[in-house]
């Protein structure tokens, strides 16, 4: 008995973690998947109903707007975060004075919650007392900046706040990547007459392919899950113009008693994340095994 215990102790110690994750992650996802195939409204029902919820979901105007917003947001969020992140990383890599201070400034938004920063941005972007007033007071009398309350433009305010929050993170990833390149490579290129621009464009950035890949995966992941920022900044409004899948899901589940529909929307989000993450995990593990 004691022998058995000793032999299996590692597995016994592993058991709580595996059990908790098995139940609370895999079990729960399967439950949600099942419920998405039922006609559940206020309470979950367990008779199968087929793909009805998915048909309803993709016929819903609000869901289509959510998906549309998600695509627009993700595209802009990715482009701006990566471009700004790379520029900052390359510039910081030039033996800059006060690099530590600058790095701290670029990255501090990551330490704050989206609710905190959303509250700040909401105040800055509000037309009556925020940026618009600032410019008018400075003498630009016709200056208007009402994106926050403008149906067409409100989604871009979420991009502004989102990029502000996450660009520093991409900077940190690329800076770490650039620093891990051996000096010899850069020196050799310079001796061959390559300018700084060429060194980065032709040699260093192509070497950063794994960092691009990582940033891409993380940023897409953040954007599919974005919820807090929208709640803090626009609550999905004006109207439903800035709603997104995560917001759609919680509203359907907890405010509108559409449990089946919300489960279907959650599963769509799950599949979108899986489509990005599974290839990523696969390649990461292969790289690790190759080492």
């Amino acid at each position: 008995m004691f022998k058995w215990l000793e032999k299996n102790l590692p597995k016994i110690v592993m058991a709580p973690a595996v059990g908790l994750i098995g139940w609370f992650v895999y079990g729960f996802v399967l439950w949600t998947l099942y419920i998405s195939f039922t006609n559940s409204k206020i309470l979950p029902k367990y008779e199968l109903w087929g793909f009805g919820q998915y048909e309803k979901l993709w016929a819903s105007r609000k869901w289509l707007i959510s998906v549309d917003n998600l695509l627009v947001f993700t595209a802009l969020f990715l482009i701006f975060c990566i471009v700004i992140g790379i520029i900052l990383a390359i510039f910081l890599d030039q033996k800059i004075r006060a690099e530590g201070v600058l790095r701290t400034i670029y990255l501090y938004p990551m330490a704050l919650s989206f609710i905190v920063t959303g509250t700040a941005w909401k105040w800055i972007l509000n037309p009556t007392l925020g940026i618009q007033k600032m410019f008018i007071d400075w003498g630009f009398e016709n200056f208007t900046f009402d994106w926050l309350v403008n149906r067409e433009m409100a989604i871009y305010t979420i991009v502004i706040a989102g990029v502000w929050q996450s660009a520093g993170f991409v900077m940190a990833l690329f800076l770490a990547g650039l620093r891990s390149v051996e000096d010899e490579i850069v020196k050799a290129a310079k001796i061959d007459g390559a300018g700084l621009f060429t060194v980065y464009w032709k040699i260093l950035l192509p070497m950063m392919r794994p960092v691009f890949f990582t940033s891409f995966v993380i940023l897409v992941h953040i954007s599919i899950k974005s919820y807090d920022l929208i709640v803090a900044l626009t609550q999905g409004g004006p109207g439903i113009s800035t709603t997104m899948p995560a917001l759609f899901m919680t509203q359907a589940a907890f405010h509108k008693s559409q449990v089946g529909l919300s489960a279907a929307s959650a599963m769509m989000m799950f599949m979108a994340v899986a489509a990005v993450i599974i290839p990523y995990l696969y390649s990461e593990l292969r790289r690790e095994n190759a080492r």
Partner: protein
Amino acid sequence: MQDNLQSTSYKELEQKSKYTNIFLRWFLYFILILFASYFIFPLYVMVVTSLKTMEEIRQGTLLTWPSSLNFDSWLVAWGGRGYGAGDTFLRPYFWNSIKMVVPAVFFSTFIGAMTGYVLTKWRFKGDQWVFLFLLFGCFIPFQAILLPMARTLGSLGISNSVVGLVLVHTVYGIPFTTLFFRNYYISVPTELVKAARIDGAGFFKIFFKILLPISAPIIVVTVIWQFTQIWNDFLFGSTFSFGEAAPIQVALNNMVLSSTSVKEYNVDMASAIIAGIPTLIVYVLAGKYFIRGLTSGAVKG
């Protein structure tokens, strides 16, 4: 001859590039400082606004400096105005968050350390798959577990309570903490463990005597990561709690959204600062570890 020619042209080139270099340097600093102001702008606005009176806010612009250091809105945000019903302030919710964060960080870190230890030093057949099994938990969109979680908390009788949130944050922290400890322990030489095993040291003795003493850096990274994540969480907090059991982020959001007669932006900003200050302090004091968690947590998970 050839050598000579090359060196002169090289010198000329260097001379020429000296001026472009100086220009580039200035350009570099200009851009870096420009971006720094973009990043610092909201924080600056938050702090200045929180120190102004509403009168000053209406008269000045976002950037104007307050006429005097007036901490009234901070006091109101923290402790309310004292008129009873409808008076919302952050103090009780701040404590809710503390009561939620401390045990959740402790449990998730402890479990992560144990699983990371087993996965690297007591390897068994299929341990790679177990790791992958846990790792996937880092990525699931939590919307896919909200509905069953709400029901489970309800049937356990801990919905709308700090205890419920501790459970939720502990469970969904495990994939990350496991990842951190596993990646750290994998670089600890296994020979050390093997030698100790030959000397007759058992499972726990090896952990407490050999691994734990060298684990300080990764414990700091993990604790900071978990603390920041849990303190800043809004999705779980807003879904599984309301009213008196709410954590601070939920309370902040409610305060800002509550439509009382006059919008007091100075109080809103003071509240936001109060809700953000614990993680900000940790970031400033231990930024190195914060970034390490961020990049290693990200690069691998």
